[in-house]
Symmetry: none
Subunit: 140 residues, 4 copies
């Protein structure tokens, strides 16, 4: 039997609050998803004005970061033409995201969930996701 | 040109709060989804212990209620064997839900969004969804 | 933070061994899937002669039993015409199985994974799944 | 009438054992899938700690290698920008994998099945898949 740590709903809200706060500062309404370590949704918020396509993309960024235990940004690097993971972006029905904005949440060296953000530039998405992670880790 | 009324994120939170409050009273951890009038997700919460299959089903109940402008419960009646909508449950890749728990949110005779709930019995899901709608309408 | 118990690969093998042993006794080559508590595959075996459609169905039975925390057989009862969950069989892209053969594995009142079996009659599938669960629980 | 050679479950276990043994040597917990020559799953194991996204990707690598009768690594070469198979990675709903880790099993010049591995780097995945093939062929 394995013992797994998993984000609670209260944890997920803290992650979203941190991300939303940064999104408000930079003035970009975001879609923000938090999944558990198995990639399944715990909480989601689309800020007023967030993009509709991003409701799916944010969830899939979080799914990817949780399931693959890495940032989606890092997948963007290794999936460039000529790189070893080229073409992986269409895996799992296209759910595997290689665009920045998905970050695993790591506690005591274990992935316990992930946050995925979409609606801004990938750099903005990643920045807000990191702000969510920072706020959550500081609150523990 | 059309003018559409649509739930805001603040509205969606009110709907979720009302549903969650009833779910806590009856002691059933629920997955609660709120979509806009186009059936796309605004906000979602999985209460700790909510069923994982329900993360999808709750969203699809809200999608169905918003898009078809009717409760999923009412679809359950008209899709029985021999009834006119028999077989519609597998439409749209199976997203069209005919199990109770999805309710459109109606303001000034217009559907402005919907709430979908899953994890309990269909009757419990519907009860909590209605509690969310009631709380939201009372708060306006 | 939540703490979750999850079947290990060694546990999954024990479940499969118990199911396979019963399948051999009754002379029906089965597809046998074991998922973790999040419904994701840990181990799978198709006995020689198992049905090809059953490679998917066995996995989806285990997914359903884990995610919904109930047997797929029990879903078959409540999803009959006129019953409250009628029509739920096409949910989640048709992955939600209401045919017997999926059983959650419960340890200390927690669902830690599930077994799903397909290729025989639903009664045979259920019997072999139960044999897998019995063997696993006896081995702990 | 055609006569087809196909891996048995016993063969599939040998392939998995060889791959797992190498995975343990290099210290990377892998998802390991073996399909028959028609690309359909015979056996699967997720080693404890294997990535959840890899449960799907490993199966799709084996499916691709069996169905297309070539390594997924070789598809990675011919699907680069400007190459003849560019864009094929999203075929079949994204199941066609062009990332290393899928290898067909060839006996007497016939493809009799395939192995697909995921969770490490593509080079590690391929190395473990090859170790599985080597062990199986040596055991015959």
């Amino acid at each position: 039997m394995l013992t797994i740590k998993r984000l609670s709903l209260a944890d997920a809200r803290e992650l979203i609050a941190g991300a939303r706060s940064r999104a408000e500062e930079i003035g970009v309404p975001m879609c923000i998803a938090v999944t558990d370590e198995s990639g399944q949704l715990i909480a989601f918020e689309r800020m007023d004005g967030g993009k509709l396509t991003s409701t799916i993309i944010a969830q899939d960024k979080a799914y990817t970061a949780a399931g693959a235990k890495r940032t989606t940004e890092s997948y963007g690097v290794v999936s460039q033409p000529g790189q070893p993971a080229f073409g992986i972006n269409s895996a799992i029905g296209g759910r595997l995201m290689v665009v920045a904005g998905g970050i695993p949440v790591v506690v005591d060296d274990e992935v316990v969930g992930a946050i995925g953000i979409s609606s801004g530039t990938p750099a903005q998405d990643h920045e807000c996701a990191q702000a969510g992670v920072d706020r959550y880790l500081a609150s523990r």
